[in-house]
């Protein structure tokens, strides 16, 4: 769990999101709304969650998003916060 920092988590989230949305990674900042600013639909968000679970399972065994909390993920910041909290940071 040690060594995870917010900037690297944001970078990982942005990289996956840019790949899924076929967009420029540099335009993905914490304040961006998934739906309103980035145009992500429900399938894109599920793709993001799935890819983040695979990525962060390497640093936190069994890491996954709680399905009941997915609806609360409105912005990039929400996703970064979720990963940080799960890692105890």
């Amino acid at each position: 769990m040690a060594g995870i920092d917010r900037a690297s988590v944001l970078g990982t989230v942005a990289r996956h999101l840019a790949d899924i949305l076929e967009t420029d990674e540099s335009g993905i900042t914490e304040d961006k709304s998934f739906v309103d600013d980035l145009g992500a639909d429900s399938i894109a968000l599920i793709e993001l969650v799935d890819s983040l679970e695979q990525e962060f399972s390497a640093t936190l065994d069994g890491f996954s998003f709680d399905d009941d909390e997915l609806a609360q993920l409105k912005t990039v910041r929400d996703a970064v916060d979720y990963v940080m909290r799960a890692h105890g940071a």
Binding site: D41, S42, I46, V49, D50
Partner: protein, 328 residues
Amino acid sequence: MLPIAVDAMGGDRAPGEILAGALQAAEAGIPVVLVGPEGLEGTGGLPLIAASEVIEMDDDPAQSVRKKRDSTLVRAAEAVRDGKASAMISAGNTGATMASALLRMGRIKGVHRPAIATPVPVPGTTPTVLLDAGANAEVQADWLVQFAVMGSVYSRQRYGIESPKVGLLSIGEEPGKGDTLRKDAYELLSAAPGINFIGNVEGRDIMTDQVDVVVTDGFTGNVVLKTLEGTLKTVIRSLLEAITQPEYKEHADALMPALLPMYATFDPDNTGGAILLGIDGVCIISHGSSSARAMVNGIKVAREMVDTGMVDAIRAAIAASSGTTEQG
């Protein structure tokens, strides 16, 4: 050849009709692996990949794929991803089939969104490829251009049409007709290289030889498809009711040899299902009320898509259209 993974529990008539279709396909020489609950009866000795859950028709597509990780749909997609099957087919929840394929098999690089391509029968000639028939209720104009690219590849590969005529479904033939999405898409399609764009087409053109590929959003495409199915069914039933009256029996007997092939042309069970284009693997979506015959034909289409390298052809076309060069 690797087997085709058949979702044994998908569809209104599962597992009975699905198993019967899988067995017939296997008897015809196509290797099949079923995906269903352990101890499933009626498999006739076909190999089985065990899956303990079933995604129901009314389950939320995206959520169900996450919550039911041991479902037949998810396991079928994983079988393709893991090299245990060459393709998958399901008559179950369409949205969940797309989500399973998308999350487990992945998208072809450069594809914005996969689209469901459905062959619509046209009497006397090759079918018209309609896409998207329901994968994406809302789309963007540039997605429609990709649908045109993928639909053209499908039409060329499957029906041998060298330069398929692509039409944008709208409410009039003139370029200015339609909503903002259609107008933007018209401009992009007109400028897109490698597509034989013929302009706007209307619903009445779909079942003619005027067009080979019709692109639209998934909401409209699905409404069009279901409307066509319902209309054809009603017209054929009314026709049969009319000519089988006792006073017309002799005429009916004489006409039947001509009418039955027409009936067969329009029968959805003969279509062999729709293909999800843009996925990095072959995924066939059969309609919810699929019979054994529909499943056999769908499995045959899956085999054909694998044998003809449809996925690689789409990959090459998308790379060319986006100006990228992929390695491997």
